[in-house]
């Protein structure tokens, strides 16, 4: 059939391993990984998440965005012969031979409740909501646990000093996976503390730009009403013309 060789079919063919899984006959290299202690032979080069699926696990928990943004697939592992307990996001880490791994389906951690508009912009607010901040023993375990490679202990120290800017910048890439909090010997929930600090910083340091204020006023005062009357009821032909005539702002 002619359809057989269409571009779309060729593309689908080339994507097959991602969509419907790898055919065993196409696998050249294998590794053995231990999922919660059980040994599984899986293709080398998969992520931990893909390897677990290949082995037959179907995720309900511990899988979310599958792209390193959501923090759902926090994983801890040890490698045979290595004393170190390591952490990873399962969707962003290659499976390795001799990994003994388990996923963390849920990280318990109390979030303080607050009204961001009523909080005072000073270090007292952080301590009021998270007094355990003072328990930090600067052991750096949180930093070592962070799969985003953030300097978690540093931002906790900045929080203790009330340096909101430093906390905001250093913690910005946090995906709230919870690994820091689970490893912390002082029982801090670092990612919640950072969330409060960032919101405080955003709320009190990022002033509304003038141009935004002006635009809001213009909309409120009906500046575009006439334009809308023209645009919303315009024929497609007319809109096509207006579209073609747009000027492009210079770079």
């Amino acid at each position: 059939m002619k359809e057989k060789k269409s571009i779309m079919d060729r593309i689908a063919e080339s994507n097959k391993s991602v969509i419907t899984g790898i055919d065993e006959k196409d696998i050249e290299y294998w590794v053995t990984t231990y999922i919660m202690g059980k040994a599984y032979k899986v293709p080398a080069g998969l992520t931990i998440m893909q390897a677990m699926e290949f082995a037959g696990y179907r995720f309900v928990r511990s899988a979310g965005c599958r792209a390193g943004f959501c923090g759902a697939c926090a994983t801890v592992y040890r490698k045979a012969g290595d004393y170190k307990l390591q952490t990873a996001m399962a969707c962003q880490t290659r499976v390795e031979d001799g990994m003994f791994l388990v996923q963390i389906p849920f990280a318990p951690g109390n979030k303080a409740l607050y009204d961001i508009n009523k909080e005072e912009y000073n270090v007292g607010t952080l301590f009021k909501h998270y007094p355990e901040l003072a328990r930090c023993v600067s052991c750096n375990t949180c930093t070592k646990a962070c799969p985003q490679d953030l300097e978690v202990m540093d931002y906790i120290q900045d929080a203790i000093k009330g340096d909101f800017k430093a906390v905001a910048k250093e913690s910005f890439d946090c995906i709230q996976c919870g690994l820091c909090a689970i490893r912390c010997p002082a029982d801090l929930v670092q990612y919640h503390i950072a969330q409060l600090a960032r919101r405080m910083y955003g709320r009190y340091e990022c002033q509304e730009p003038e141009h935004l204020k002006i635009r809001l006023k213009e909309i409120e005062n009906g500046k575009y009403k006439e334009g809308w009357d023209k645009f919303v009821n315009a024929s497609i032909k007319k809109l096509e013309k207006l579209y073609a005539e747009r000027d492009r702002e210079s770079d």
Binding site: A12, A44, Q92, T93, G202, E208, E240
Partner: protein
């Protein structure tokens, strides 16, 4: 593994091809191919998966009978429910609320906050999530949020950009709501404490997006959706609004007179169901990337399986533009662990060029997404100037070092920490070497038809975000999706609250619509082979699936 020699994360042969890109860079630095004319666009769009022959069929039952849609979507519309009417006891109500919100991404979470601000008490709102609260495509939005707030810009120009990008199929009144509320949403985000990128002089940093004629893209580094959603979710939690996780909806409920009246939830872990009675229901379930339409990989999160559209269609909601699928031009094509994942359009808006095997810039970097994606397909499959990967994929280079050259050293690390980190994990330094890209399934352009208030044709049923159809026409522009979620999350929250307050008489909960739908399926001769919503995609290994037995 040791058998293939890798240099800076690439197999040797790919590394050699990269050298061609390095050699031609200075020559290309100040030159982009010109934007295409309307005719050129039309020509190349013939290669787009939406317009290439095959892949679609007519929907045989329901509101949109006769309309065409992707086979993968029509399969789900022509599927049987997960439950039988007899096995569900509707007399015991587990949650009796004013507003039920299904889906906790940016749209659903925003809706809850605004409904609460309208005076609906937090315990009278219920947000239910299939996975965790926040496991959503919103969380992965990288590039930005559009808002026309600079002096040389206006909501009208934003409107025109989106209309043209959407092939003039957008619903004008809905699009007007989107662009006119955009500045208000930026104001709201600042008020909540979101850290939006600002210039030294305190103005917003605003960048280009594909298909726009003004710079109006607001970002939070390349973690825009992450920042927006985690701040909004934090606010949601502060308000103590009720929230369930790992409770997908498996069927909507009606009141016997065709109005939406709640839903049947299913506990993903224990397998039992719960009945929610609600005066108004907001569907904010997102899109369908995990259906892998036409065999494409996807940027979407694990749960993007079209559930909401299926559920809404069964109660009689009208769909529109479901035949159009957005393929993002720049999905990762290498390394194999991250195939299909998103490389934000912002890379191109800041100067990265698409480059073919011979080191040539072959397309204007910021065409609308469908045009840009089609030109990549042309380069790889017609002109044969793509780069073949070890897994058999073809792709073109995205010259990220050029971005670094244009904007100064360290730009990638500062402005694109997420992506930079992702490639570093696989030993690739995108500031030094280009990355390989190919179109990836990104967005459901259409969906359940909405109006400017988020209302559908079904009483009491609202939609917000990617599930909805109309605002983006047949192709969404960059930065209009997070905006869509927040604008129509807000609007659906406000109008659902208004609707709920006005509800006087509430009928008896019913699954009558489901019975009717099943009869339609039977009448159309559709065999009960498929069931929907599917809730999750199937990625388990074939060998294991072949030997699985059902014991308990």
């Amino acid at each position: 593994m040791a058998e293939i020699k890798f240099i800076r994360g690439y197999p040797e042969y790919m590394h050699e091809l990269i050298n061609i890109v390095h050699k031609t860079r200075t020559k290309r630095k100040d030159y982009d191919p010109p934007a295409m004319s309307k005719e050129e666009r039309e020509e190349v769009l013939k290669l787009h998966p939406d317009y290439a022959p095959g892949g679609k069929r007519k929907i045989s039952i329901g509101q949109n009978k006769g309309d065409r849609g992707p086979n993968e979507v029509v399969d789900l519309l022509e599927a049987y429910p997960l439950i039988e009417e007899e096995e569900i006891d509707l007399s015991k109500i587990d949650y009796d609320v004013d507003i039920l919100i299904i889906g906790g991404g940016l749209a659903g979470t925003s809706a809850a906050i605004w409904a609460n601000s309208q005076g609906i008490p937090p315990e009278k709102i219920l947000l239910t999530n299939k996975l965790r609260h926040g496991d959503a495509n919103s969380m992965m939005a990288e590039g930005g949020t559009q808002a026309a707030d600079r002096p040389n810009d206006s909501p009208l120009i934003h409107f025109l950009d989106a209309m043209g990008g959407g092939h003039f199929a957008n619903k004008p009144d809905v699009l007007k709501a989107l662009v006119e509320d955009a500045p208000l949403i930026m104001h709201w985000l600042l008020e909540l404490g979101a850290m939006i990128d600002i210039e030294e002089n305190k103005d917003f940093v605003e960048k280009w997006g594909g298909g726009t004629c003004r710079r109006r893209m607001h970002a939070c580094r390349d973690y825009t959706g992450l920042e927006e959603l985690r701040v909004i979710r934090d606010e949601f939690r502060d308000r103590k609004i009720s929230c369930l996780e790992y409770y997908p909806v498996i069927e909507l409920l009606t009141d016997g007179e065709g109005r939406a009246a709640g839903a049947v939830l299913w506990n993903f872990e224990t397998g039992d169901y719960k009945i929610v009675k609600a005066k108004a229901t907001i569907l904010a379930t997102g899109g369908f990337g995990r259906l892998h339409i036409r065999g494409f990989p996807t940027t979407n999160h694990y749960g993007a399986t079209c559930d909401g559209v299926v559920l809404a269609y069964r109660v009689g909601a009208k769909l529109r533009d479901v035949d159009t699928v957005q393929y993002h031009p720049t999905g990762a094509a290498f390394p194999p662990q991250i195939i299909g994942l998103l490389l934000t359009e912002k890379l191109r808006s800041m100067g990265a060029q698409p480059i073919n095997k011979d080191g040539e810039a072959f397309v204007f970097p910021l065409e609308p997404r469908d045009v840009e994606a089609s030109s990549f397909i042309r380069e790889c499959y017609i002109r044969e100037k793509g780069i073949l990967t070890p897994t058999g994929m073809r792709g073109v280079w995205l010259d990220t070092p050029l971005l670094e050259l244009k904007n100064g050293e360290g730009t990638i690390e500062n402005a694109f920490p997420g992506m930079n980190r992702m490639f570093k994990r696989f030993d690739i330094d995108m500031a030094k070497d280009p990355v390989l890209v190919f179109p990836t399934l990104h967005y459901q352009n259409g969906g359940v038809e909405t109006d400017p208030e988020g209302k559908t044709n079904i009483g009491g049923l609202f939609v917000a975000g990617e599930i909805s159809g109309g605002v983006h026409g047949k192709n969404r522009l960059m930065g209009n999706s997070t905006l869509d979620c927040m604008v129509f999350g807000r609007r659906s929250g406000i109008y659902a609250a208004e609707y709920a307050k006005a509800v006087k008489r509430r009928g008896k909960l019913s699954l009558e619509h489901m019975k009717k739908y099943v009869n339609m399926l039977k009448k159309a001769g559709i065999k009960p082979e498929r069931r929907a919503p599917i809730l999750l995609p199937e990625y388990r290994g074939k060998a294991v699936l072949a030997r699985m037995i059902d014991v308990f």
